[in-house]
């Protein structure tokens, strides 16, 4: 199994509070991604990173920011959580060198915003 951990695994918070989710990898892969997964929408890309301090937006980036100060850590921040951000969040990593960009996924974080 790829060495990817996410923390916390579960979180319940209130509307308007800031929330930070952490993704940690031990594989030294260049690329890291944050997705959210919702019924009826599948997996949607929020942000991704192609190196330390290098990040870019995905298709559903509004309301989210990310930071990558070390190769192994990719943080996703909800500055002011809303109920629409209740979801399961997955981190993924990739070398960027495999055919089709194979991604390895973490176990997910279930976030509930009340």
């Amino acid at each position: 199994d790829a060495g990817i951990t996410q923390s916390p695994r579960h979180k319940v918070t209130e509307t308007g509070t800031p929330v930070t989710l952490r993704c940690h990898q031990t594989e030294n892969h260049r690329y890291m991604y944050w997705y959210r997964q919702d019924p009826g929408h599948g997996l949607r890309l929020i942000h991704y990173s192609y190196g330390v301090k290098d990040t870019d937006k995905g298709e559903v980036s509004d309301g989210y920011s990310v930071s990558r100060s070390k190769t192994e850590d990719f943080l996703l921040t909800l500055e002011s959580a809303t109920s629409s951000q209740t979801s399961v969040y997955f981190c993924a990593i990739s070398t960027g060198h495999s055919v089709g960009n194979e991604q390895f996924f973490g176990p997910g974080t279930r976030l509930t915003v009340l």
Partner: protein
């Protein structure tokens, strides 16, 4: 951005039956990947197809890439309860365009 349409959305079958799920787009894929996601876990890669007309087999799973590289199918022979899960296709493009289909949720009953 490429849109991937997966069908059917849900599929419930008995153990031993065969099934096929589909992934379609109006655009041409440079490559396509199939992932399986079990409840409470992240997706895991099953296969990558690259060449039009390509067929790949993984035990009882057969993956086919359309000749025009706009569609793909996954066929499972003699389904088992362990095949239960969400099957996702994903366009294997540039880093910001790694778009997934919404998936087919498969339930195989003993």
């Amino acid at each position: 951005t490429q849109l991937l349409e997966q069908s059917p959305q849900f599929l419930s079958i008995q153990e031993g039956e065969n099934l096929t799920v589909y992934c379609n787009s109006s655009s041409v894929f440079s490559s396509l990947q199939w992932y399986r996601q079990e409840p409470g876990e992240g997706p895991v890669l099953l296969v990558t197809v690259v060449t039009g007309g390509e067929v790949k087999k993984l035990k009882r799973l057969t993956f086919q890439f359309g000749d025009a590289r706009k569609d793909s199918s996954l066929h499972i022979t003699a389904a088992q309860p362990g095949d239960t899960g969400l099957y996702l296709c994903r366009y294997g493009g540039s880093q910001g365009n790694l778009i997934f289909g919404k998936g087919t949720k498969l339930s195989v009953k003993p």
